[in-house]
Subunit: 623 residues, 2 copies
C-alpha cells in the first residue's frame, strides 16, 4: 500500500503546511480505517476476486478542480455499478426524459442490486440503479449511436478529464459469468423494454461495467456532477446541466442498493457504489468525493467507504439537505449617488443638485449565483425602496450566474420599474447575455434603459438623469482662467500675470495628454472640453479616477512637488487648456506675495473635497 499525499502544489516542508487542515482530515480518516478488515472482496466475478483487500484510497475534488488524495488513489479498478447513473444521464441526453421514463422507473425497489424487480404487467424495471434498470438504460443510451461503445467511453472521458478504456480481463470474466444479467436482458426483451438483439445491449452493459477508473477519477466524476455537469479541471460540459438533478435524484433515492433510505438519512449525499469497492458521493455546490476499498458488506457496499462517508457527514454536516441561507448575501452592497458618486467630478450647481437629490438614484451590486431566494430578496429590497428612487443601477460584476426562471423575475422587475417611468442602468452584465437579451426584448420603446460595461459609467448616467431634471444649464462651454477652481480669490492683476505665463494647448478627443510615469513639471487649467484621469490596474481594464470638465485643473500634483505623473489623462472631447510650468507660479509673488497662498489654499480645498467623497465611498463600500 502506498501512502501518498498528493496535491497540486508542494507542501510547506516540515510541518504539513497551511494546506494541512483538509489534508490532515483525510489522513486522519485514512489512519482510522486502514486496518479495518471487515467484509469480503467480491467473489462472484473471478477477476474481481483478485483485488488486494488492503487497497484503500480517499479523494476529494473541489469545484475549482483542486484534488486532495490519500492512499491508493491511482490504483485502477473497474467502475462496475458506478457506471449506472452516468449512462442514465447519457440516455436522458439521447432520448429525453419522457422516452427514458417508458423504459425505466424511478421508485426505489427496496431490493438487492441484482434483484430483477420488473413491473409485473409492463416489465419496466423499478429504477435505473438496479441491474435490470441499468441494462434497460444501456439499451436506450446506446440505441441512437452507430458506435454506442465509443459514445459511452467519450462520455466517461468527459467526466474524468482523460481517455478511459475497458479492462478486457474483467470484461471477459464478467461476460462469461453474467448469467443472471443475461437472463434479465432476455426478460427485458420479452417485455419490449429492450429492443433488437439483447446480446448487443448486454455486450454494451458488460463493457460499461468494465471501464477502468481510479479513486481520483471517481472524485472528479462526482465533482463534475456537483458542478452542474462541468468538469472542474477541463471546463468541459460532461452532461447537460438540466439533467444533473435527474441523475442525482436517482442516486439519492436508489444509489446505495437497499441501503438508500438509511444512506440519505445518515450520509445525505447522492452516491453510487460498485462491487469492485468504489463509492462516489456528490455534495452539490461543494465537492465530489471518491473512496476505494474492495472489502464489501453484505449489501455490496464498501465497508470502509460507508464508514468514511458517515464520519465526514458527522464532522462537517455535509448532508445535501443542510444548505446555508442562500438569500443572505445576494446584495453585496447598495447605496445612493449622494454617498458614492461616479468619478465624473461635478462643480457648482451640479454638486448642489446631487447633494439634494442623490438619494433618488440607487445602486445595487448583486453577488454570487442568483437563485430564487436571492433574486426574491433583491426584488423585495427594491420594492421597499420603491418610493424613494427615480433612477436605479443594477450591477452584476460579482453575480456569477442566473437561471432561466430567475432571469424572468429580474426582467419582470426591470419592466415594472421602467413602466413606472423610472430609469434603469445595468452594468457588468456581459457574462449574462440571456438576461440582456430578455431585458432588451421586453423593453417598450421610449423606456429609459441603458446598459454599461462598468458601474462607474452607469452611475454617471444615473447622476445625469437626476441633473437633467434641473432647468439651469450646468456646464458652460468655455470657462475662463478667472473662473478656474484654482484661481478663486485672485485679483485681476494676478490673473493677467498668471495667464501670460501660461501657454494655450489643444488636444483632440482620444489624445493622451499626460502619461503616467512621465516627468511632471506643469499644471493644466481646463478651458473647454472633458478629460479623464485613468490609472492602470494590474490584471484589469484601466480604471477611471476622475472625469473633469471646463473650469477644473489637472496635473496639479506637480505643484506639490510630485516629480512624475501618477496617472494618465485622456481627452474625452476636443480640449483646450492653459499649461503652466510649476516654476512660473512664482511670477505671482512680484505683484501680490499672498496670491500664491491663495492658489495653494484652493488646491488644498479641491483635494480635501475629493478626500471627503473618497471617505464617504469607503464607508459605503465597507458597510
Amino acid at each position: 500500500m502506498v501512502l501518498a499525499v498528493d496535491t497540486h502544489q508542494n507542501r510547506v516542508p516540515g510541518h504539513g503546511g497551511a494546506r494541512a487542515p483538509v489534508e490532515r482530515l483525510l489522513l486522519d480518516l485514512f489512519e482510522r480505517y486502514k486496518s479495518l478488515a471487515e467484509g469480503l472482496v467480491a467473489q462472484y466475478i473471478p477477476e474481481l476476486a483478485k483485488a488486494d483487500p488492503g487497497w484503500f484510497g480517499i479523494s476529494i475534488v473541489t469545484l475549482d478542480g483542486h484534488d486532495y488524495s490519500v492512499g491508493d488513489t491511482d490504483e485502477p479498478f473497474t467502475i462496475q455499478s458506478i457506471s449506472k447513473p452516468f449512462v442514465y444521464g447519457l440516455a436522458l441526453e439521447n432520448r429525453g426524459e419522457d422516452y427514458v421514463r417508458e423504459k425505466v422507473g424511478l421508485e426505489p425497489s427496496g431490493d438487492a442490486f441484482n434483484a430483477i424487480s420488473l413491473h409485473p404487467a409492463t416489465g419496466i424495471p423499478s429504477n435505473p440503479m438496479i441491474n435490470a434498470g441499468a441494462i434497460a438504460t444501456s439499451g436506450v443510451a446506446g440505441s441512437n449511436d452507430r458506435e454506442p461503445l465509443r459514445a459511452l467511453l467519450d462520455m466517461f472521458g468527459r467526466y474524468v478529464g482523460h481517455e478511459v478504456a475497458v479492462d478486457e480481463a474483467v470484461l471477459q470474466s464478467e461476460s462469461e459469468t453474467g448469467h443472471r444479467n443475461r437472463a434479465i436482458g432476455y426478460m427485458l426483451r420479452n417485455f419490449g423494454i429492450v429492443e433488437g438483439d439483447p446480446e448487443e445491449v448486454l455486450a454494451l452493459y458488460f463493457r460499461q461495467c468494465s471501464v477502468s477508473v481510479t479513486c481520483k477519477d471517481l472524485a472528479m466524476m462526482a465533482a463534475t456532477l456537483a458542478n452542474a455537469g462541468v468538469n472542474p479541471v477541463t471546463g468541459v460540459q460532461a452532461v447537460e446541466p438540466r439533467y444533473v438533478p435527474n441523475v442525482l435524484s436517482v442516486m439519492a433515492s436508489c444509489g446505495m442498493y437497499d441501503y438508500a433510505g438509511e444512506w440519505i438519512y445518515r450520509v445525505g449525499m447522492p452516491a453510487k457504489s460498485g462491487v469492485s469497492g468504489g463509492v462516489l458521493a456528490v455534495l452539490p455546490g461543494q465537492m465530489g468525493i471518491g473512496v476505494f476499498s474492495p472489502r464489501l458488506d453484505e449489501r455490496g457496499n464498501s465497508v470502509r467507504g460507508v464508514r468514511v462517508f458517515a464520519d465526514l457527514t458527522r464532522a462537517f454536516s455535509l448532508h445535501m439537505l443542510n444548505v446555508p441561507n442562500l438569500a443572505y448575501s445576494a446584495i453585496r452592497n447598495s447605496h445612493d449617488v449622494a454617498s458614492v458618486r461616479s468619478k465624473r467630478q461635478r462643480s457648482g450647481r451640479a454638486l448642489e443638485v446631487l447633494g439634494d437629490r442623490g438619494a433618488r438614484a440607487r445602486v445595487y451590486e448583486l453577488q454570487g449565483d442568483l437563485v430564487f431566494a436571492s433574486v426574491e430578496a433583491f426584488t423585495r429590497e427594491v420594492a421597499e425602496a420603491w418610493d424613494s428612487f427615480d433612477v436605479i443601477c443594477i450591477d452584476f460584476k460579482h453575480a456569477s450566474g442566473l437561471g432561466d426562471g430567475e432571469t424572468v423575475i429580474v426582467t419582470d422587475l426591470i419592466g415594472v420599474i421602467l413602466g413606472e417611468g423610472k430609469s434603469v442602468a445595468l452594468s457588468n452584465a456581459s457574462h449574462l447575455p440571456w438576461l440582456l437579451a430578455a431585458v432588451s426584448q421586453a423593453t417598450e420603446p421610449g423606456a429609459d434603459l441603458a446598459i454599461f460595461p462598468g458601474k462607474d459609467l452607469a452611475m454617471e448616467w444615473c447622476e445625469d438623469r437626476l441633473l437633467a431634471e434641473d432647468v439651469i444649464a450646468l456646464d458652460a462651454a468655455i470657462v475662463p482662467l478667472a473662473d478656474n477652481e484654482l484661481c478663486e480669490g485672485l485679483d485681476a492683476d494676478a490673473l493677467v500675470r498668471l495667464e501670460n505665463s501660461c501657454q494655450e494647448v489643444q488636444f483632440a478627443s482620444g489624445d493622451t495628454i499626460l502619461q503616467a510615469g512621465e516627468a511632471s513639471a506643469s499644471v493644466y487649467f481646463l478651458l473647454s472640453g472633458d478629460v479623464s484621469v485613468m490609472i492602470e490596474v494590474p490584471g484589469a481594464e484601466p480604471a477611471r479616477l476622475a472625469t473633469l470638465s471646463a473650469g477644473m485643473a489637472f496635473g496639479e500634483m506637480a505643484l506639490l512637488g510630485e516629480s512624475s505623473r501618477s496617472a494618465s489623462v485622456i481627452a474625452d472631447s476636443d480640449v483646450t487648456c492653459l499649461e503652466l510650468e510649476v516654476a512660473s507660479l512664482e511670477v505671482l509673488d512680484a505683484a501680490d506675495p499672498t496670491a500664491r497662498a491663495t492658489v495653494y489654499r484652493n488646491l488644498a480645498r479641491k483635494v480635501a473635497g475629493n478626500l471627503k467623497r473618497a471617505n464617504a465611498e469607503i464607508q459605503a463600500l465597507s458597510a
Copy 2:
C-alpha cells in the same frame, strides 16, 4: 373563494408594483390551476368530505419571514399526515436517533400511505411517513411527557408561530372511523413497538392529525425547516438543528407516499402531503412552500398541489440538488496593508517600512455561511500565499455562520500559521464565540495571536507587527512645531511668529478635543500624544477616520474655510497641542509674505497623501 394577495406591505397601486415579480408568479400559478377540477375530496372520514373542493391557496415564506400568499391561505383545515415529519422530529429530540431507529425504519416502502408495511420478523414499520410508522413515532414522541398532547401542540406552535388547536369535529370523526389505524396500533403493540396501552397512543395520533392549520401555516412550518429549525418570524428554535436533515431526509425519501421517487426526481423538494389537501415542501436555504386544495389524486396527494410544485420546479430549478457553487464567494475581499492601511496615519520611516513590507501582512474578509467548501477554498488561498506573509488578519464581519467541523478546520489553520511563528489577528468574530474559544484553547503560550472587535484596529496591529521588525525608533515622544507636517520649509523667524500666536493646550486621555458640528476656528499642532478622528455612522459604532501622532496637525479644514467640524477628535492618550486661531495665520505675512503659501502647500500635500491612500483603498475594496 377569496382571491387575496397578502404581503406585509401595501402594494404600489395600479400596476402590481415592484413586488410584482414573485407575487405575479403565484397569481399566474393560481389562475392556471384554479379551474382544474380533477380528483376527489377525501371521503373516508365523513368530516373531511365536507371540504369545499374549490378551496385553493398557495403560500411562500422566505427565510426572513416574508410571506407571499394567494387564494384561500387563511382557511383552516386539519393537518392530517403532514403532522408526521414534525412529530418524528419531536421523537428524535425526546429519545435520540438510536432509540427511535429501534421503533421505526428509514426505507421507503413503495406502498400506499395506509399500507401496514411492518417488518415480518421485528414488526418495525418501514418508515415514519406511513401510518404504521407515524403511530409508532407518536408513541415515542409522547411517551416521555406527562402531558403528551400539550408537548405536541407546543411543538406545532413553535413551527407556526402561534397557538394551535385540535379540530374536535374532525377528531371525533377520525377516532370513530379509524378502524384500520386501530388495527395497526394493536399490531404494533403485539410486536412491542408500541408500549403500554395502544389506545393512548392512538388517541394522541388521532389528535395530531386533527390539529387545525392554514396554508400559510404550512409554508411557515416548511420555512422553519428550510431555516435550520428556526421559525423565521419569531426566531424560536422549533426543533434542534441537528435533527433537521433527518426530518427532511424522511420527507425526501418517503414523504409523498408511493410517489416519492418520482416526486424527488420531478420536484426535488422534501415534501409532505395530507388527505385534507395540504402539501408543504421545503427548499433548504431558500424557502418554505404550502399549497392547499382538497381534490386528491388516486395516491392521496392534492391534484393542484402536485401541479403547482411541478411548475415551480420547472420554472426555477428549485430542486434541492440544484445548489449554486458555495465555495465561490467565501472570500469577500483580500488585500495587504500596502494597498489598504489602517486609519493610523504614519509618517517618515514608518511610511517607508510599510511601503516596503506592507505586502507581508495579508487581510482576508470572509463572508456568508461558511460551509466545508468555502472554508476549504479559504484555507487553500492562504496556503497559496503562504511564503508571502508574516502577519495575517482574518475578518468575520460578513461571515454569518460556521459549523462545528468548519470551526475545527479554521482553528487548525490558525494553529499552523501561529506554529510557524507568524502573527494572527482575528476581527469582528464576537458572533462566533465557539470559534474564539476553540482558537484560544488551541493557542500555545507565546504564540502571537490577537483578537479585535473591528478590522481597522486589527490592521493597525498587523502594521505594528511589521514596524516592530525595524530597529529605528519610529515615534519621538515630543515633536516641536518646527517638525510639524504643516511647517516644513518655514524659516526660523516664521516659526517663532507662528509659535507666539499659538496657545498651548493639554488634554487627558479620553477627552473630546473637538466635537463634530461645533464651529471651527482653529487648527491644532500635535506636540505629543495620539488623537483619533471619529465620525458618526448611522446605525453603527462611530468609525475611526484617522489616528494621528505627534508631529501631525488636526482641525486643519478650518484653514480651508470650513465653518464647522465635520468629525470629532478624541485624545487617545495625554495630549499636548498648540492651538492656532485661523485668523492668526496672517501674522506670517509680515515677516515673509510667502510663508503662508508654504503652509497651504504642506496642507495640500498632506491631504493629497490621504487622498491617494483612500483611492487605493477604494480600488482594493471594489476589486
